[in-house]
């Protein structure tokens, strides 16, 4: 496949085109991913999540500069929400990463969620694969705010950085939203503001409460002022340490396997649904949905009936 060949030769335009293909046309994904896959699995994937206003983009930009200074190549997939009303999106994460635009060792891609609910786009994982195959050593995934993205980002990344900022009430939100369980690393950004010490203390207290016997990794809590580039070295060091911990404990392998499993399950359920729909009689799905809306059937019965009739039709064919 020519475009994949070009990608592997380091062609950045090919990388950009491939991500678009994977975003736009799910029917092309199978053959493209099949060609890409053998060339992935090298990159350290780092998820960065946290509420709006905590400074995620600035942090990712500043961390990238430090990682570049160590000679590694960086990829960034920055996810922003698609407007449910217009289907459009305003993708503004690059504003905080301007100087990185012309660094050949950095590739930044803004991605809209396009109706995906979890804080990542459907194509985020595939975009990461493209950047991995391009040869980026570390790939950041920056999520849409925080809220529903926890499970997804924990699955998509090897290391999850949860960013909080003093004064936003994030310390409490962190527990509510379940961010606590997925964090491998906490960053208290905007640490020059009042309340930074309080945020650190709260996180420490919560960590003590949540730590279970046998946990070998205690998420470090690091203070940064990303806008001034302060505290970046310590965060980069912690990312490296976490990767080392994952490798050494065997958890890296486990995580990779779990992610693969989830991906296969998702593909199977999508394919299964597609096949089921194609086996139904013309208009059957729509009729059932109308009956459901009119409360003549319940969702379980509707699903059972549709499954049944697809089975019958499948046998006839």
């Amino acid at each position: 496949m020519e475009i994949v060949e070009r990608l592997l030769a380091g062609d950045r335009r090919a990388a950009a085109r491939l991500i678009s293909l994977l975003e736009n046309d799910a029917s092309q994904a199978p053959r493209l991913v099949a060609a890409l896959y053998p060339h992935t699995g090298r990159a350290h994937i780092v998820g960065v999540t946290g509420s709006a206003g905590t400074g995620k983009s600035t942090l990712v930009g500043e961390l990238t500069k430090k990682i570049r200074a160590r000679g590694e190549k960086v990829g960034i997939v920055a996810v922003d929400p698609t407007s449910p009303f217009s289907g459009g999106a305003l993708l503004g994460d690059r504003i905080r990463m301007q100087e990185l635009s012309t660094d050949e060792g950095v590739f930044i891609r803004s991605m809209a969620t396009r109706g995906s609910l979890g804080g990542l786009a459907r194509a985020t994982g595939d975009g990461v694969k493209v950047l991995d195959a391009l040869g980026q050593d570390l790939i950041f995934i920056e999520t849409v705010g925080a809220g529903q993205s926890e499970v997804e980002i924990a699955r998509a990344a090897h290391t999850v950085v949860v960013v909080v900022a003093p004064g936003l009430g994030d310390e409490i939100q962190a527990i509510k939203a379940g961010l606590f369980e997925i964090a491998d690393l906490f960053v208290v950004n905007k640490a020059d503001r009042e309340g930074a010490e309080g945020a650190v203390a709260t996180l420490n207290y919560l960590l003590d409460m949540n730590q279970t016997e046998g946990d070998r990794w205690r998420p470090p809590i690091l203070k940064t002022v990303a806008i001034r580039g302060e505290g970046m070295e310590a965060v980069v060091d912690a990312l490296k340490e976490h990767l080392w911990y994952l490798k050494e404990s065997g958890k890296l392998e486990l995580k990779n396997r779990e992610r693969g499993e989830e991906e296969v399950k998702r593909i199977i359920s999508e394919a299964f649904l597609g096949r089921l729909l194609s086996r139904l009689k013309e208009g059957e799905w729509e009729r059932m949905m109308l009956r459901l809306a009119a409360r003549e059937v319940d969702p379980y019965t509707a699903a059972e009936k549709l499954l049944e009739s697809s089975r019958e039709l499948g046998q006839e064919g």
């Binding site: 407007s83 459009g88 504003i95 635009s101 809209a112």
Partner: protein, 133 residues
Amino acid sequence: MAERKVRILIAKPGLDGHDRGAKVVARALRDTGFEVIYSGLRQTPEMIAETALQEDVDLVGLSILSGAHMTLFPRILKLLQEKGLGGIPVLAGGIIPDEDVPALKEMGIAGIFGPGTSTQEIVKSINQILKRV
């Protein structure tokens, strides 16, 4: 299945620090269903061309108020060409004197919108231009 979305880069080359117009346009484009990458103030031609490449955009909109368009635009167009992105339409908005318009069109700027252009007009022209490419 996912549909193909039109991606547009809105960038501000040069040194002026006013991006209200650019932001208004960016929002209007989002509200008509485009994916808009807004890259911020004080972009060099190199930054703009490289961003267009990485983001794989279908169209580039440049907003400029500083008066440096006659030097910056040719440079941006040349860099896009060098990166194999010569086919991407480039539009311009902001403060551009009438006497410069013919020269800008000549060098390949596909549309020029002065102050007072409504966002509807811009959306309409963008749709027309995209249909042509």
